[in-house]
């Protein structure tokens, strides 16, 4: 019998035992990281293989969405926590980055005030609010990108999981959380630019945000971040902890009676996921050039969930795939058939839940299972997402 994955322990499995799909996936990421910039820079405009710059930042945007989807998959697919408020962590990370970019504008704002962003100037604010201090320093901002979502997730999870709020109730209060944050950020008095949010960014680390070079840089960063996020996630899911998470998802009380502090496990993975979401947000903002409270809107968070569902929850690359496909569809159809777009999105939601309950990847897994039925008993009953070794 082969217990390699369990026996060798996560480190080994991370290096060698990484699932083949994982390897393929990372490979593709690497290729993309190389090809896209090359074709953008070297291949002539006219050529079919030229990737226009706007496509680069579009891809960059998709990649940050993919990372967000990954973070949702980590808690939903593996631990059964359906968060309808993950957009909040994404947006918070985004705001942290946005605040840094805002401070980088310096006195190039319309009112030429070296310290205050324009929106503060016309709200008659005389000095920077305390919570903006330090955001002019990149390291500080980046720390915040991680800390703020992390801490919020910790506090929220600490209460929710210890009180054993589960399932639907949890989903709904996560929704309430992001909704409350949205309302809060809409208020101009909050000092985050209200409805207009943060925009009109000039440069990041001294690089002009408008230049193609910077775009490519950000794109590559997104690729790396996604790869990094994927590695972390698969490290967790490969480890025994990953199996505990699945155990919690499938039989929470059993897990408890087996001596595991379920609430701490949930808290751990929730925080990790929130941090990943935050990083995704931080990458998203410089590439789209604006962050605004509507990122907090529950609708956005629900949409993220559907990306994961489409791709196949419980399979990390499934989440990535879903995010890619749905967003590509969004970009395409809002251009090609604007009127029909919502019908399609809505139809996709229904179709997936009815006919692809395990998502594209999951379903194809069963399908492949059917073909080469192995020692693992009748295939029809195998939940696709658990085939890990």
């Amino acid at each position: 019998m082969d217990f390699s994955s369990t026996k060798k322990g996560p480190f080994v499995s991370l290096v060698t035992g990484l699932p083949g799909g994982g390897k393929t996936f990372l490979g593709i990421l690497l290729v993309a990281a190389l090809l896209v910039p090359l074709s953008n820079l070297l291949v002539p405009e006219s050529s079919f293989f030229h990737v226009p710059t706007y496509m680069v930042s579009l891809l960059g945007k998709y990649l940050s969405f993919a990372l967000l989807a990954l973070s949702v998959d980590l808690i939903w697919g593996y631990c059964g926590i359906l968060s309808l408020g993950h957009g909040a962590f994404f947006a918070l990370g985004g705001y942290a980055m946005g605040m840094y970019l805002m401070r980088q504008i310096g006195d190039r704002g319309v009112y030429g005030n070296p310290d205050l962003p324009d929106f503060m100037v016309f709200l008659n604010w005389t000095e920077l609010p305390w919570y903006w201090t330090g955001f002019d320093m990149f390291p500080v901002a980046m720390t915040m990108v991680i800390l703020v979502p992390g801490i919020l997730a910790f506090i929220f999870g600490w209460f929710a999981f210890r009180a054993r709020v589960t399932g639907v109730y949890l989903s709904i209060i996560t929704q309430a959380m992001t909704y409350a944050l949205m309302l809060a950020f809409f208020r101009n008095d909050m000092g985050f630019g209200g409805n207009n949010g943060l925009t009109d960014f000039k440069e990041i680390l001294g690089f002009d945000l408008q230049s193609d070079g910077t775009r490519l840089g950000l794109f590559v960063c997104s690729v790396i971040a996604l790869a990094f996020g994927y590695l972390i996630s698969s490290f967790i899911t490969q480890s025994k902890l990953g199996r505990v998470l699945i155990a919690i998802r499938d039989a929470e009380s059993r897990t408890r009676f087996s001596g595991y502090r379920v609430e701490y496990y949930k808290l751990f993975v929730f925080v990790v996921s929130a941090v990943l979401a935050g990083i995704a947000g931080a990458l998203y903002v410089p590439q789209v050039g604006i962050i605004n409270p509507s990122e907090f809107s529950p609708a956005q968070s629900i949409e993220v969930v559907i990306w994961v569902a489409v791709g196949g929850r419980g399979t990390l690359w499934g989440a990535v795939l879903g995010a890619m496909l749905v967003n590509w569809g969004k970009s395409y159809f809002t251009g090609a058939l604007p009127e029909a777009w919502l019908y399609m999105l809505g139809g996709l939601f229904v179709f997936t839940t009815l006919f692809l309950p395990k998502g594209i990847v999951g379903t194809s897994a069963i399908w492949i299972e059917k073909i080469k039925n192995r020692q693992t008993g009748p295939a029809s009953t195998i939940p696709a997402y658990v085939k890990e070794e």
């Binding site: 226009p52 319309v110 409805n195 207009n196 408008q210 251009g335 777009w341």
Partner: protein, 428 residues
């Protein structure tokens, strides 16, 4: 199990390539047509207002083609749906300019969408016509603002109410949705009112969230505020969606115009179509255009609109006129420049004149804002707004308000020697 992994991995890759392919596929522009981008939300919360403008542009493109197109070329409208999602506005703008290679874009509603696309237009040096009244405090080289600036709407409105004819109001409620346009407008008005010697305790400011629907408290507060013995008026910068419940509450709590008039800057025929105006007769609105204005141009325009939309009940409103003026000016400028090249057209735009639908002519100034007449009208029981007062001449749109100290010192002029959207002194 490797098979499965491969499949999945390859799918992901395919997705990426497909994505780029989308870019590659559509990335050729025909030379025999002139493309006009339309960037208005057709879904989501803003669709309520923006869809009409999309139709307006389509109508005018249609009209243009009927009359032999432009520079002998056919004009083609490229419509996209930013779905009331601000980042998507930026993405779509880029797509229009880079992929569809449009020569000009008509679109956006609310400042946030404009702010989100602004960097794109500046980077790619394209041209946007923004047709909605806004807070000013901006003048981009690549944007023409055909909607009203605060000094073309707010200030005249307040002056009217202060006048003997307007019922010399002494006490003011500034009610608005909590976003940049009301904030700035109210700030300007506050400064203006104080300059006219209105005391602090005679000004009440209240902000509400988007789509606010329960107005009981605020309306009864207004009622109380109005019962202090001085003539009181409400200056409403409440945004589209929230207006219907607001006016319904006003009507129900029996606040009639002759006691406490409400003057609104974002309520036009379109919004009124959504409610029963009988209880609202006499409340005011300040715009540069009313459908009810008796003028040949207007009659003509309305006729075309009804024909195009196939519904004689559909109303026209100010942003439509703004779109109309912008579009006509652009057409004239292109003809004059003999090309659609952005820089050439921009130069040609300055001083361009178009007949207002309300009589008189609108002129494009070098600060990218229009000179237009300002109208103040009273809501009628048929949902129309009847002009009760209008400026004698035209008012020049002012990008930088004189009532905000930081911006008072700034000038906007895109011609030599200034060549700047907001500077204290000329470039050259």
């Amino acid at each position: 199990m490797l098979g499965l992994r491969k499949v999945a991995g390859i799918m992901t890759g395919a997705a990426m390539l497909a994505t780029s392919a989308l870019g590659l596929g559509t990335a050729q522009a025909a030379d025999d047509v002139i493309k006009v981008g339309v960037l208005h939300s057709l879904s989501g919360t803003m669709a309520i207002s923006e869809t009409t403008l999309k139709d307006a542009v389509l109508m005018m493109v249609d009209d243009l083609n009927k009359n032999g197109g432009l520079l002998g070329k056919k004009v083609e409208a490229v419509v996209v749906d930013p779905a009331s999602n601000w980042p998507l506005f930026a993405e779509k703008a880029r797509e229009l300019i880079e992929v569809d290679k449009v020569d000009v874009v008509f679109g956006c509603w609310t400042s946030v969408s404009r702010k989100s696309v602004l960097p794109v237009f500046e980077e790619l040096n394209s041209m946007l016509f923004y047709p909605v009244q806004y807070e000013g405090e901006e003048s981009s080289r690549n944007v023409f603002y055909t909607g009203a600036a605060p000094n073309q709407q707010a200030i005249p409105a307040v002056e009217y109410l202060m006048s003997e004819e307007g019922g010399d109001v002494k006490r003011w409620v500034l009610a608005g949705t909590d976003y940049v346009y009301p904030r700035t407008t109210n700030k300007i008005l506050e400064a203006f009112l104080k300059s006219k010697g209105v005391a602090d305790e005679d000004i009440m400011i209240s902000y509400t969230p988007f789509g606010h629907s329960d107005w009981q408290t605020i309306v009864s507060d207004i009622k109380k505020f109005g019962s202090e013995g001085k003539k009181t008026a409400v200056v409403s910068t409440i945004n589209g969606d929230a207006n219907v419940p607001f006016y319904k509450e006003l009507g129900n709590q029996g606040i009639v115009a002759s006691d406490i008039p409400v003057i609104a800057f974002s309520v036009g025929e379109e919004e009124l179509a959504g409610l029963d105006t009988a209880p609202l007769v006499g409340h005011l609105a300040a715009w540069n255009y009313f459908m009810s204005v008796e003028d040949e141009e207007n009659a003509e325009f309305i006729k075309k609109w009804h024909a195009f939309i196939g519904d004689d009940e559909r109303v026209t409103n100010d942003p439509m006129e703004a779109t109309y003026i912008g579009f006509q000016m652009w057409v004239q400028a292109v003809k004059q420049a003999g090309t659609t090249d952005v820089d050439a057209v921009r130069q040609a735009m300055y001083g361009q004149e178009v007949k207002n639908l309300t009589g008189g002519t609108a002129v494009m100034n070098t600060n990218h804002h229009l000179s237009k007449p300002v109208l103040i009208g009273e809501i009628q029981d048929d949902g129309q707004i009847e002009t009760v007062w209008r400026t004698d001449g035209v008012v020049k749109g002012d990008a930088w308000s004189d009532f905000i100290p930081e911006s008072a010192k700034l000038t906007s002029d895109w011609t030599y020697p200034f060549v700047c959207g907001g500077c204290e002194k000329a470039m050259f």
